[in-house]
Symmetry: C2
Subunit: 329 residues, 2 copies
């Protein structure tokens, strides 16, 4: 069997995790990593991988079946995405929810023209959470869906803390509020404010001699990021931060509560829950599974932009339809 030949575009957290994730899939091989930086400056995790400049990619359309786009959603994917869609099948974890329709259009146009397939907005949210929101809503049309995130590290909020004067390092955990989850499970259909769904806990390493009260005030009142939440702040040492708060754990929970029956007397709860030691590793593994789907679908002649809900689950599996019917159904 010919292996599916994968390329990685952009080598940050997610790119590194894709490098590792591919090794778990025997039907795939990693052809190379593409970066805007000088390739000779990049040290890859598994060593034996070729690193290329972005420009070299366009000469390699015959050597790569699917490009996994690992650039940032804010400033990289909006232009890297459409550019690669003109040359390769792609998958990405574009997570700027509000801009998904526009990103989809740009990807779709170029992919259709090149007769490639581009699966956008993979990962877990968007991604597996989107899929689960859809299934749950379709099965229980009379009901309500709630998404809770955490316990996990929000990179955006951690960055926001680090931008405050006097903060050396910082990490922020988003934590769902247990009472809210219980109310949803019970079928109370609560109207939950921002503050009632999640709270935020920050671990901050302050520069010597700075005013901790001032830092605390600045965090707690920061609009959009913290002002609407109950926020807890702990000042710790650099050693404590490194020892007790390594990595990028995350996760979350989708719950739909619905009712059925002649008089809606029957309650039903569907939950999809993730607890992840590494947000980028899990996201990467989702993208890698969708890369398999992209390759297969394009071989069947399917082109254009797709989201994860447009892909039949069977395309993600390395097992044949017969094996699936025997072992998984």
């Amino acid at each position: 069997m010919n292996k599916i030949r994968i390329g990685i575009v952009g080598y940050g957290n997610l790119g590194k995790s894709v490098e590792l994730g591919i090794r778990q899939n025997e039907d795939m091989e990693l052809v190379g990593i593409f970066t805007r930086r000088n390739p000779s400056t990049i040290e890859t995790v598994t060593r034996a991988v070729a690193v290329y400049t972005m420009d070299e990619a366009k000469k390699m359309t015959e050597q790569i079946d699917v490009m996994v786009l690992c650039g940032g959603s804010m400033s990289d994917l909006p232009f890297q995405g459409p550019e690669f869609a003109s040359l390769f099948n792609t998958v990405d974890g574009y997570d700027n929810h509000a801009q998904i329709p526009d990103y989809f259009s740009a990807m779709n146009e170029n992919a259709l023209e090149a007769q490639k397939i581009c699966i956008i907005a993979g990962g877990w949210d968007p991604g597996m959470f989107s899929i689960n929101r859809l299934y749950a809503e379709a099965i229980l049309p009379e009901g309500n869906t709630y998404t809770f995130w955490g316990k996990g590290v929000s990179q955006g909020h951690s960055d926001a803390i680090r931008r405050i004067k006097g903060v050396m390092k910082g990490k922020q955990y988003t934590i769902p509020i247990e009472n809210a989850i219980e109310a949803v499970r019970r079928g109370d259909r609560p109207e939950l404010s921002t503050r009632e769904k999640h709270h935020r806990v920050c671990f901050v390493v302050a520069e010597e001699g700075t005013d901790k009260e001032q830092i605390e005030h600045e965090i707690k009142t920061m609009p959009n990021y913290f002002a609407d939440y109950d926020t807890e702040i702990h000042f710790i040492t650099e050693e404590e931060l490194e020892k007790n708060h390594p990595g990028l754990p995350h996760g979350g929970l989708i719950i739909r509560h619905g009712r059925t029956g002649l008089h809606e007397e029957h309650n039903h709860v569907i939950e999809y829950q993730l607890a992840l030691d590494s947000n980028p590793d899990f996201t990467a593994n989702v993208l890698v599974a969708f890369a398999r789907a992209a390759h297969r679908l394009n071989q069947e002649g399917v082109a254009g932009a797709k989201t994860v809900v447009d892909i039949a689950p069977a395309y993600l599996s390395s097992k044949s339809a017969e094996e699936l019917r025997k072992s998984i159904i």
Copy 2:
């Protein structure tokens, strides 16, 4: 918009629930119920539904878009399924796991010939649990999947109790063992025996003057059904049974624990959990959502037998692709 016209074949628990479930979907209408019994003897739950004999179905191929097959998996579907596959698009909840490949073949042959689509083995297990086993395994190739059922009523085990001499009525709950679930979540990758995964609790109404110890012994030693489990038996009155144990609640949990990272140092847990007041209502709602998919796919020219993992999630939703990208992704 033309509504999707649904027929129900077989009017037991599941058929009744499909009748109710269709009302929650504005893009669908129920054309009629088909039964082997004398239609005049059937009283439908919502009253205003036409009831026909099975034979009348073949004259109604122009009036019905999808038939939801609600016969029993053991003795009805193996012949009703292929018969209807020659005439209609169908969906069913065929749940005889070991026979799925054979049932698939029989359905596929007739459906291809008639250019109809037949989605088999819907519901929750098989069905939504199958889908979740597949996604979880594809995302975390290095890992283990566990399925737990319950807390819920097993109809097969309740029937088995009722066949014992001296038993008037009985209900059996399957209950997953909490310690086992915790071990799986922790990543212990336990090898669990039957007894370590579930236990069974029976509520029995005995005929007056029967030997309760004998009944207890017969239940606990019944091969396949109870002998391999820890079983708890409670003798109660008929009034208690009706008051405290109404309906057919069920549910369960799929957990996959997997590892990623350079040295497999990152743990990940994916869980899909259902808590259902009514097993047939939930199963019916799944089948109804797949009926929408069947209709749409057949309109696009797709024919043959499919399982739930062959269907892209978007086909289940009443929302357009644009709406999904805006509101659910």
